[in-house]
Symmetry: C2
């Protein structure tokens, strides 16, 4: 059975198309690696690449792309709205098919070790690959950003997992980790009252007492005159999409507000939606092995 | 983009395991062909094979398997509960991925032409591949069964599409066609009154005024003390699963009966369930291209 892992590296270049093409190029035309998407943001000055592949082939490609990024990006002159600490800012590995989280963590560590050694680059392991609980949260790892890394790496508790204790002069520091797929799921409400979206967000999100794998904020969709509960579902296998959807419906009732629809931004695994369909249809004893595509991909 | 077609040939041997293995063997170990399942029924004396593959590779494999079936099955001594007219009773091709129905029909015709020529076997094209409206319905094509084929083939309106006007002495006649995937979808009702399941079946099925791509009958689940609307959804892209499910819920209300759950028997394409999830979550502007597995299989 073929193993498939997804990788979503973020590189700190969102403006120079020529440089972006160079960085992305190692993911093209390789057996066992498939470039699915790359989208750049000029304000963030950052490109987010989505690639899937078999573990070994993916490792070779990502290490190569990291080398290119180090060559073409100079963090000393990098500006952008998105927090960043390095040319290769963050590299998450995500299990997709016939791969356990343990194997994704293993791959993250192998890539970190190899790249740190090859490019003399300090690397933190984060999320499921983290070596301490403090390093699980990417925001904490990245705090201080590129400019603050020199001092941060001197602190004993922030000694990198791999590579030197000094940031790479032009490439800074990189975080490599493993996590579940994120699903960007937004629920639109039939009101223009942002307060209501914010209150509901607080009720459903983990941070303030809600569902374990749900991050949420209220957002205004001004052109439509409505508001939205904008969410990141961080583990749909444990916090199902239908569950947060029905919970929002229940909370919105308090304000006499209806749901007008929802949005899914970007990619998601089929299982997140199939699980939802199986719930609404009340399908008994359903197995993902009944899905033709599961069998074809084996 | 790789084209994938499914094929579900039915062979008239459900008892002799040795013969069944011989028939199935051509689908094994071939590049571009994957044997997903084969299940035999002793009472029907029939084996149903499920295989997917790229069109050319699939053609080679099915023609080879047909040759084996002709060698090992003798219809002169075949008995079984299921209607049948030949050793290779029926061979439907089903578009799965990057394949149009027109291409599936084309493949059915190529296989029919090649096998008729190679094995001196009379072949009817049926369903979407049918050459006349009377031949669309497999039951009509098969009427008379193996024993009646000699006379049937003499009638001008039942001259085979390919091959001789006489049945193959030991292999009879074969039907080859193209169709949409079937989804076997059953909805369980909180009552033991079969009459209610039958009435609802009549209301939702095409035959008696219901949904265009729905076949339905009422069935008793004696061991559970409930009844079921047992359905074949013949084109889920046009008659969605959620639509028939909600219609059954509405009809059941007339009798004060609730739905207790549902069943999906065998394989189905992910799209049938994703479409259902997208309906219940009210996802706006969703595209199957957002499903990771769609992209991986491209």
């Amino acid at each position: 059975m073929k193993k498939i892992i997804q990788c979503v590296p973020n590189f700190s270049e969102g403006r120079d198309l020529d440089k972006i093409e160079k960085i992305v190029n190692p993911f093209r035309g390789k057996n066992g690696v498939k470039l699915l998407d790359y989208s750049r943001d000029e304000d963030h000055n950052r490109v987010v690449v989505t690639v899937v592949g078999e573990p070994e082939a993916l490792k070779v490609a990502i290490v190569e792309a990291m080398g290119v990024a180090i060559e073409v990006i100079d963090m000393r002159s990098h500006e952008g709205q998105h927090p960043r600490m390095g040319a290769i800012d963050v590299v998450p590995f995500i299990p997709v098919k016939n791969v356990s989280m343990t194997e994704a963590v293993e791959l993250a560590k192998e890539v970190a070790m190899e790249a740190a050694d090859k490019y003399d680059l300090p690397i933190f392991l984060y999320e499921k690959a983290a070596s301490t609980p403090e390093r699980e949260n990417l925001a904490k790892v990245r705090k201080g950003e590129y400019e603050g890394m020199k001092d941060k790496l001197q602190q004993p508790e922030w000694k990198p997992d791999f590579g030197p204790d000094m940031p790479h002069e032009t490439a800074g520091v990189t975080a490599i980790g493993a996590r579940m797929p994120l699903v960007a799921f937004n629920v639109n409400l039939a009101t223009d009252d942002l307060e209501i979206a914010n209150k509901i967000s607080k009720n459903v999100r983990y941070l303030s007492g809600g569902l374990r794998y749900c991050k949420a904020i209220g957002i205004e969709l001004k052109e439509r005159g409505i508001v939205q509960v904008s969410m990141n579902m961080t583990d749909y296998t444990k916090t199902a999409l239908y569950r947060v959807f029905e919970l929002i419906r229940i909370e919105a009732k308090r304000y006499g507000v209806n749901i007008v629809g929802s949005e899914i931004i970007g990619l998601l695994p089929m299982e997140a939606l199939i699980d939802t369909a199986v719930y609404y249809l009340g399908v008994e004893d359903f197995s993902m092995e009944q899905v033709l595509e599961t069998r074809i991909m084996e």
